[in-house]
Amino acid sequence: MAAKRQTRAPVFAALGDQTRLSLVAKLCGGRPYSISQLTQGSKLTRQAITKHLRVLESAGIVHSVRRGRESRFEFDPQPMEGIKEYLDFVSEQWDQALSRLKSFVEE
């Protein structure tokens, strides 16, 4: 568990950026994208997109797969589990608070 926890911090860090979040949103559909495809329709340059992809890659959120001469980027759902756990935690706190509220107003 301790080892697993250490790997979460870079995932949170990688996702704490609007551009990277939108890249993840695009990639999490499951289909691999090339850098040119990801740059299309974006205001950012190819270099900037590449830089963001490298950050996501180092956190393990995306992987690059070489196909012929170009790299394609693929989403890896594993590291996102950490965030799901955090939201689950906050969510559980609300479940408890609301059930206390229920007993409070229904008594």
Binding site: F12, L21, L87, F89, W94, L98
Partner: protein, 150 residues
């Protein structure tokens, strides 16, 4: 990615009863388990001390946003600002909204908390890490709370 929490709960009580439980600062404190210093006023900071067993060292701080009688109560806060030494005031808070709707048998309360994507990355991880131990403790408290009466 999911950036919000939504909960729905049916309450068998009158709308005025539920509204009071949500917006009277003493009643809110009873079920939320926080001792608040002052009544809720839209636009103002609400401060207090958590009374939840195991979390009593934590402060409560939120900014009341809207109070539309018997319909909507909302505030912004920093969820699980668990490190008393860290200043969370510069971070973007999440928005908590309680909306009330009358149903045939009572009140439907919808709670949403949104804005998690704007919480600084390392803080999210930290909040989670710090609470993990406390959470186990809380479950034990809950067990103790429900067990003896049965």
């Amino acid at each position: 990615m999911n950036d919000r929490i939504e909960k729905r709960i049916e309450l068998k009580a009158s709308v005025s009863r539920v509204w009071r439980a949500l917006t009277d600062y003493r009643e809110f404190g009873e079920w939320f388990r926080v001792k608040l210093d002052d009544p809720f006023v839209p636009g103002q900071v609400s401060r207090g001390q958590i009374t939840y067993p195991g979390y009593e060292h934590l402060k409560w701080e939120a900014v009341v946003q809207k109070m539309e009688p018997e319909r909507l109560f909302s505030f912004t806060w920093h969820p699980y600002s668990v490190d008393p030494k860290t200043d969370y005031s510069k971070e973007t808070p999440t928005l908590v909204e309680f909306t009330l709707e009358k149903t045939a048998s009572g009140i439907l309360l919808v709670l949403t908390e949104s804005g998690f994507d704007r919480i600084p990355s390392d803080r999210r991880a930290e909040a989670f890490r710090r609470n993990e131990g406390g959470w186990t403790e809380q479950l034990k408290n809950l067990e103790k709370h429900v067990a003896p009466t049965s």
